[in-house]
Symmetry: C2
Subunit: 265 residues, 2 copies
């Protein structure tokens, strides 16, 4: 096909190419892409302009365009295939499974995880401060707090508290609670926020569960909880959410992830 819609490319360059900044060109170009993807200018699965098209439409040479796209691919933002093209990855899976509560099955080899069902118990919007405030950058803003239960493989319950800035994620506040159940929460944060979460800091602590937890989910009487605290960051470095997972004693193994890749190919 005689190539890619030239209009879209020119739109892209006009809107996202920062002429004044004194960053290197390859950096300017990859930032233009991440920014435009976060804006929703390109959506997950969308096909990006070809290298040649970008050489034509930007003040970059082929080598520079390739370096920008290679970095984006390395970061997982796009996927490139020789012969077909570059497409936007689906990174709009900010908070939901199987991101955080990944339990191995009894034989337990990584890669396949136990099913998780999520149920929303409660939601409120408050200006209260707490441990989440520093991470979310909350000053006078309000946060939305969502109380959830994750049922792990029908075996036991994990109690979850989720915090995010209410202004930044109005969908979390406005959506009727019934619709917050299940896997929809992910699409919700993704809507205004097309590029999400480079999974961030993880902390583990051990403490008594909240009072009355046994009224909210199945919880072994009086047992201490292991609390996994997770802060998720978006690509621009801002914290998107703060979560506490209260895990009861269990025989299952929790996968905390494989950080760090080796190096760029």
């Amino acid at each position: 096909m005689a190539g890619f819609s030239t209009r879209k490319t020119e739109d892209f360059v006009k809107r996202y190419w920062a002429d004044e900044s004194d960053l290197p060109k390859h950096e300017k170009l990859s930032r233009a892409f991440t920014e435009s993807i976060m804006d929703g200018f390109w959506t997950a699965g969308a096909r990006l302009p070809t290298e040649a098209e970008l050489v034509r439409a930007t003040p970059c040479s082929l080598g520079t365009v390739q370096r920008a796209l290679r970095n984006l691919a390395y970061a997982g933002v796009i996927q490139r295939r020789r012969g077909s093209g570059s497409v936007v990855s689906d990174l709009s899976r900010p908070i939901d499974e199987p991101w955080h509560m990944r339990f191995l099955n009894a034989e337990g080899q990584a890669g396949s995880y136990l099913p998780v069902a999520t149920r929303v118990l409660n939601r409120d919007v408050t200006a209260d401060h707490g441990p989440w405030s520093a991470d979310l950058g909350q000053t006078t803003e309000k946060v939305v707090r969502i109380e959830r239960v994750m049922v792990i493989d029908d075996q036991f319950d994990v109690y979850n508290l989720f915090y995010a800035l209410a202004d930044r994620f109005p969908e979390l506040v406005d959506t009727p609670m019934a619709e917050l159940n299940g896997i929809n929460l992910k699409d919700m944060m993704a809507r205004g926020q097309h590029l999400a979460v480079q999974r961030g800091r993880q902390l583990m602590r051990f403490e008594a569960p909240p009072k009355n937890i046994s009224l909210k989910c199945r919880w072994p009487d009086g047992e201490r909880a292991s609390v996994l605290n997770v802060v998720g960051y978006s690509m621009d470095g801002e914290a998107m959410y703060y979560q506490d997972y209260f895990i009861p004693p269990t025989d299952l193994t929790l996968d905390l992830g494989t950080p760090q890749r080796t190096y760029a190919q």
Copy 2:
């Protein structure tokens, strides 16, 4: 100065440049460097040949040499400074603190961790198999098992079991046990293994501690342990060690690390 010692560069190319392999040249070159660093051909702090020198001594052009070195710098293997040169990073800190047992203090901001003192209890070499076997790639080989206690800020004890292939780390077997105490363990694995550990998989499970644990360290009676399992990989992708940390109930918070960088600059 009229440059860099040409002899050393030619030695390097002769010994580490893989002519037959059909990898891309930039990949060949960066592998040659990681391999030679692991061998001890270049040691931490050593100054590498300049770009121009490598262009001269290898069948690579400047762009290719730069790509290889850029990837190594991104991976943290070397450090480059415009005007001075490229030097080998000190990555010989495989297993010791503050790698894994990083507890936050009570106010608990990340970055500063509670002091950890390590004491070796026991060591044996065995051909037994167990959960570690698959990860370490143990078939008929023997593993060295080291039993340790980590005293966290004089407050409580973490019980640690450490496994590695005995053949691969003879220092762990041969060194007198008294010398295994404290921070020396790190230097030990680093000696033959100049480039170490890209920290690997982390799992958390919850189980009864080993029998008789209270004879070996301070352990609250009958309490369940939180077990952090860590497998560390070296740069060539092979597992270096398998460790279980048995953590008693505590009020302190454990930092599980900040995975994932954003993307290459």
